[in-house]
């Protein structure tokens, strides 16, 4: 044993040295999401997308070999609906989350680095925005747009999702701004844009990634909320729409478990998966959280 003199008030913890085990939540999360995608991957051996159309077959059939998840009251085959719906929901999440992170990240970067009036304006908007329940605003917007498609849905959600991203990015930029490498870059004559794009942005990558996963989660959450209320993209199949229709046609009362249970199950898999992934990414982006466990 080497003798090392250590300031005894350092409280250290024993960590598992294996990287695999430390990132188990991340892997488990990704695994869950892959499981959620199983209907999409395996469904093609049982059904075709056309069967998801209205009156693709006899309505209200329980599961059978021909319709592994049965049909619902409009005659749609449910497995086909899920095959189309899961990617649609994920797409809304990615579009909404992606746009939110891009807009929010840029605004946070600019606001944190530039300071002054830009910062004050953006900060006030963010502070006000954080007190507003996002669903309220989303409902208002969604109700006012007559025809909502999947990409439009994503954009609608992004209008409220960017706010928390801005706040997180901004505070991180404020910390980084005072570091030596930024000051050195400034002294070397690198312009504001250069510093933001080439010095700050690369260092913000871990936070970016964590924010992205969080935003996608928020986006999917918001989209399901809107869809269950009936405000989703009615023309497309999404998981939320399936649930809405199940409630509309009182599927639970009619004992049609194959209608309302599978979409909920898939959603739970997606949410738990995203939760585990974002937990781990948060820890990587902010190592101080490590002390928690």
């Amino acid at each position: 044993m080497r003798i090392r003199r250590v300031e005894p008030t350092v409280v250290a913890r024993v960590y598992s040295s294996s990287a695999w085990r430390r990132h188990l939540p991340l892997l488990a999360g990704i695994g869950l999401i892959v499981c959620a995608l199983l209907p999409v991957l395996l469904g093609r051996w049982f059904v075709t997308p056309e069967m998801a159309a209205v009156f693709g077959d006899v309505p209200n059939l329980p599961p059978s070999l021909k319709h592994p998840l049965g049909t619902q009251s409009e005659g749609r085959d449910l497995l086909a609906a899920l095959m189309l719906g899961t990617p649609a929901t994920l797409a809304i999440g990615l579009i909404g989350g992606g746009v939110a992170v891009l807009v929010g990240g840029t605004l946070g970067l600019v606001s944190g680095y530039r300071g002054g009036w830009t910062d004050t304006v953006i900060r006030t908007i963010v502070d006000v925005g954080m007190t507003v329940p996002p669903l309220a605003v989303l409902i208002l917007i969604a109700v006012s747009i007559p025809k909502v498609s999947v990409p439009v849905m994503g954009l609608i959600i992004a209008t409220t999702a960017w706010i928390s991203v801005t706040r997180v990015m901004r505070s991180q930029v404020l910390t980084l701004r005072e570091r030596l490498f930024i000051k050195t870059a400034k002294l070397s004559g690198v312009g504001s844009f250069g510093i933001m794009a080439f010095e700050l942005a690369p260092n913000l990558m871990p936070l970016f990634a964590a924010s992205f996963v969080n935003s996608v989660t928020t986006a999917i959450l918001a989209s399901i909320g809107l869809e269950v209320l009936g405000l989703g993209p009615r023309e497309s199949y999404t998981l939320g729409n399936t649930i809405y229709e199940a409630m509309y046609y009182t599927a639970m009362w009619r004992d049609m478990w194959w209608w309302w249970l599978p979409p909920i199950f898939i959603l739970i898999l997606i949410f738990l998966g995203l939760f585990l992934v974002s937990n781990d990414l948060d820890r990587i982006a902010n190592p101080r959280l490590e002390r928690g466990w």
Partner: protein, 305 residues
């Protein structure tokens, strides 16, 4: 034969860290006798606070007493159960931390914090009696009664320190460990605190372990002094002997660094040790040899086993 209130026998304390085990204290032995002031001197990182926490039974979860025994008043405490500790703590063994630290609960008034100690130690909180005791204690540490109604942030560093001293005295312990009690204070407050500690000793007939890094300060109040380096003692002895005849080279350096009014012409030459010397000291055998009655030194000539 004087009574030993604290007897530490050959202990070793190890911290488990991510980088492997770290030995903070090794092969350390010393005793504290009744009613004496034992000064524990060492630089930062020498293991003083670890030793104090071990004696108090409050090592963090990562710290382990891997060898040796700690006997308080004849009773073995090292790895005792929480119940045993609760019986001993504060009633017999008290602690005065660095008051400038955040040791007083910021959300509770001072009088409530006194009450917590009283009620949790099973002594019937016969209100009038205890109120009088507390007031007397405050007076002893030169604090006004108004302090009781305050929150900690409303008091100065020196006042908080003295509140801590008063708290330590509350149940009349036999041993008080004072950890860097004067380190963050100005000179006058330091004086007041030291004086208060001596008065405490006289009042309670208690022993005090005074931990610090200021040898000059220790010289004024301690009866015996122990010099700690890298987790063990290099020299222990009566304070006068240590100053008159320091035997270990490290001790000699420490004493030479103490500013003295005798050095009329500029500062003494820097007396820091060089790498080789430090290495030599670190590889010494920790066993202390009694060179004169009561004066122990770590021997540089005996190689480490």
């Amino acid at each position: 034969m004087r009574r030993q209130v604290l007897d530490v026998q050959d202990i070793e304390i190890v911290y488990r860290t991510r980088g492997g085990p770290v030995r903070a204290v090794s092969s350390l032995s010393f005793s504290v006798f009744d009613n004496e002031v034992f000064g524990l001197v060492g630089e930062s990182g020498s293991g003083k606070s670890t030793l104090a926490m071990a004696i108090l039974g409050n090592l963090p979860d990562t710290g382990v007493l891997t060898r040796g025994r700690i006997l308080f008043d004849g009773r073995e405490l090292g790895a005792a159960s929480p119940a045993t500790w609760r019986a001993v703590r504060w009633k017999h063994l008290a602690y005065v931390p660095q008051g400038a630290m955040n040791v007083l609960n910021p959300l509770r008034r001072i009088r409530d914090q006194f009450d917590d100690i009283i009620s949790d130690h099973g002594v019937r909180s016969n209100q009038p009696d205890w109120k009088a005791t507390i007031l007397a204690l405050l007076k002893a540490v030169h604090l006004a009664e108004s302090v009781l109604a305050c929150f900690p942030h409303e008091l100065s560093g020196g006042m908080k320190q003295r509140v801590c001293i008063a708290m330590a005295m509350l149940l009349g312990p036999k041993l008080i460990i004072a950890d860097e009690s004067t380190s963050a204070l100005d000179v006058i407050s330091q004086r007041v605190v030291l004086q208060t500690l001596l008065e405490v000793r006289a009042r309670l007939n208690a022993a005090i372990v005074l931990i610090g890094h200021d040898l000059a300060l220790q010289a004024q109040v301690a009866d015996r002094v122990g010099i700690m380096l890298a987790g063990r003692f290099v020299e222990i002895g009566p304070v006068t002997r240590i100053f008159d005849r320091p035997l270990h080279p490290y001790t000699q350096r420490l004493i030479a660094s103490v500013p003295s009014i005798r050095h009329q012409h500029g500062l003494p030459d820097v007396v820091a040790a060089d790498e080789a010397e430090r290495k030599a000291w670190l590889s010494e055998d920790a066993r202390l040899l009694e060179v004169e009655p009561g004066h122990f030194v770590a021997s540089p000539s005996v190689p480490r086993q």
